[in-house]
């Protein structure tokens, strides 16, 4: 005998909500490389936070100690000291906050503006879409590093400008991703149904279109953090990012260049830190893409 269990609407909704998130997580967990990316990111985040608490910027990070300059890695200074006698490991740990915050804030900026523009372009189509796409073309036409250089020299070098510059550079990418994600959703029957029942365009975009075109945007966010960190460190390396003496990784690498012949660890470790961080975000992005859309993996 078959017994039918009755579900209340609330129960069903709760079930549905849980299942989307947990299914993505279940798929994500299956990939060891994706999990490794996530674990590395968590470790870097924790290390960065602890470094902010235990180290004092003026004493541990920028104060010079010429007695101990250019010491090779040892048990007192695991990664050695730089030309001003500052501990490289401490500076790298403390400096994680620059790369992470530039990556995250700039992606937040480009995601917010880019996705909104992309949603509008994809949803309304026609003239609006044309204008937005042409504007994107303008900003994509300029190589991102050159656009970054132009913005940095226009508004001066600071962490805030760097975040803004990288954010602006990647706006078109989000706009295009969001637009492409909206296109297949736009002509679905449920959108038409919502329109017929008199729902406003704005609320259709946010309640129906956006949730159904989220996956590519989420993937773009993680990849965007990776690209943002790389571009930011290039700009700092060229002397156009976070100004010295802040321990930004790209800037540390650049200032170690003079000593490359005899003290190559000065350039090696900051670069390694950049690579590991970027790698972690890339692995996470790959894992998320597979988890959000298992079909793609085939």
């Amino acid at each position: 005998m078959i017994t039918e269990k009755k579900y209340s609407i609330e129960e069903l909704q709760a079930y549905k909500k849980r299942s989307i998130a947990s299914e993505v997580w279940r798929n994500y967990k299956k990939s060891p490389s994706a999990m490794m990316g996530l674990i590395i990111i968590v470790i870097i985040l924790i290390a960065a936070i602890i470094a902010q608490i235990i180290y004092d910027y003026n004493v541990d990070i920028v104060q010079q100690d010429m007695m101990n300059r250019l010491q090779s890695p040892s048990s007192t200074h695991f990664l050695g000291t730089d030309q001003y006698g500052r501990d490289i490991l401490v500076r790298i740990l403390y400096g994680a906050k620059y790369s992470l915050s530039v990556g995250i804030v700039s992606v937040a900026i480009s995601c917010l503006f880019g996705s909104t523009l992309g949603l509008i372009a994809g949803y309304y189509g026609g003239f609006t879409e044309n204008i937005i796409l042409r504007a994107c073309e303008v900003f994509m036409g300029i190589p991102s590093i050159l656009l970054g250089i132009a913005i940095m020299s226009a508004f001066g070098q600071s962490l805030l400008v760097l975040m803004f510059a990288i954010g602006l550079v990647y706006v078109p990418m989000f706009a295009r991703t969001a637009r492409a994600a909206v296109l297949p959703v736009r002509d679905q029957e449920y959108i038409e149904a919502a329109k017929v029942s008199g729902v406003s365009n704005l609320s259709i975009i946010f309640t129906h279109v956006l949730p159904n075109s989220m996956s590519p945007i989420i993937v773009q966010i993680t990849m965007g953090v990776a690209n943002g960190i790389l571009t930011a460190s290039s700009l700092s390396f060229l002397g156009l990012g976070v100004p010295v003496p802040a321990p930004e990784w790209g800037a540390m690498l650049s200032s170690g260049r003079e000593f490359i012949r005899d003290y190559s660890y000065l350039t090696f470790f900051p670069g390694l830190a950049i690579m590991i961080t970027v790698l972690a975000f890339n692995l996470m992005g790959d894992g998320l893409r597979d988890a959000l859309d298992p079909k793609l993996k085939q």
Partner: protein, 309 residues
């Protein structure tokens, strides 16, 4: 076909105009004024203003931009303030070096990525696949200037095989080309692999195998030809990435290209030179993308058909 080319070309013009305005506007905002830097210490405001007029830097922003664009169309980008020479001459003197580096890096990228991508796809889910994907991921995640410095440490300082910078002879391009190519290779390997995986499942490959064609021939003759299409399609953006990436690499290897020129122009506040370089660079890139697109449309009957009426 003519209609397609014409349409694409007309669509490009407003974009180029907007690009030039954005760059001009940004560079105009930059603090640090070369005129007051060059003026004698005791110069008065009026004298500085006169110097500004003489150097062609007077007037409001729209006036200056308009004058700049009119001159640009005449082929005049102004004079570099620090080098005392026409920007156009300086740019075209340096540009071939950047192009050479970009093309060399693309060749390096292809030499690395195509065999790696094929190996990964034909041995799907084996250790070889995993190893090539990890390599590709590392290439994508590595800051290129760091890789450049590591190569300098190993191959020019420790082993002394290649020069660490400059552009004298064929050996000097090897390290910068590998550095710039490695980043591109990461991307291209992933694309080769996924497009190869797709092609391998096609019916015509099964047919070829059923006919008794040898496995090597199936892979290299039937599959590879089709798998390479996406790589050719993205040639425009690959070249764009290579040219953009060259900016940092040229600085690392003291390569006498436009990228290093632009960075040093910014550092010396020579805004006429920097603006000219960025605008010319972008125009060149946009034109290249257009040519690649047209060539692609020419080669692909499906795109051609859309515009043949």
């Amino acid at each position: 076909m003519i209609r397609y080319i014409l349409k694409r070309f007309l669509m490009m013009l407003p974009v180029l105009l907007a690009v030039s305005f954005v760059v001009y506007f940004l560079m105009d905002l930059a603090p640090g004024d070369i005129v007051s830097m060059m003026a004698p210490q005791d110069a008065t405001e009026a004298e500085i203003e006169m110097m500004r007029e003489e150097m062609g830097l007077g007037g409001t922003l729209p006036q200056r931009y308009l004058r700049y664009m009119v001159n640009l169309l005449k082929g005049d980008l102004g004079d570099s303030l620090s080098m005392k020479r026409p920007v156009k001459d300086v740019f075209f003197e340096r540009f071939p070096a950047t192009l050479k580096l970009a093309f060399a890096s693309i060749i390096v990228a292809m030499i690395i990525s195509i065999p790696l991508g094929i190996a990964a796809a034909t041995n799907h889910r084996s250790w070889l696949d995993g190893a090539s994907m990890i390599t590709a991921m590392l290439g994508l995640s590595m800051p290129s200037f760091w890789l450049g410095l590591l190569l300098i440490i190993l191959f020019s300082l420790k082993l002394g095989w290649f020069p660490s910078g400059g552009s004298s002879g064929i050996t000097s391009i090897i390290l910068p080309a590998i550095t710039l190519g490695a980043g591109q290779a990461g991307n291209l390997t992933r694309i080769t692999r996924s497009s190869m995986l797709e092609v391998i499942r096609q019916d015509y490959l099964r047919t070829a195998r059923a006919k008794g064609v040898s496995e090597n021939k199936v892979i290299y003759k039937h599959a590879l030809k089709n798998a390479l299409i996406p790589i050719i399609t993205i040639f425009g953006s690959t070249l764009g990435n290579a040219l953009g990436g060259a900016v940092a690499i040229e600085t690392v290897f003291s390569w006498p290209g436009v990228g290093r020129l632009t960075v040093s122009a910014i550092n010396t506040r020579d805004m006429t030179l920097a603006t000219g370089c960025i605008i010319m660079f972008t125009i060149f890139l946009t034109l290249t993308m257009l040519i690649v697109d047209i060539a692609y449309a020419y080669a692909d009957p499906r795109i051609k058909a859309q515009y043949s009426k």
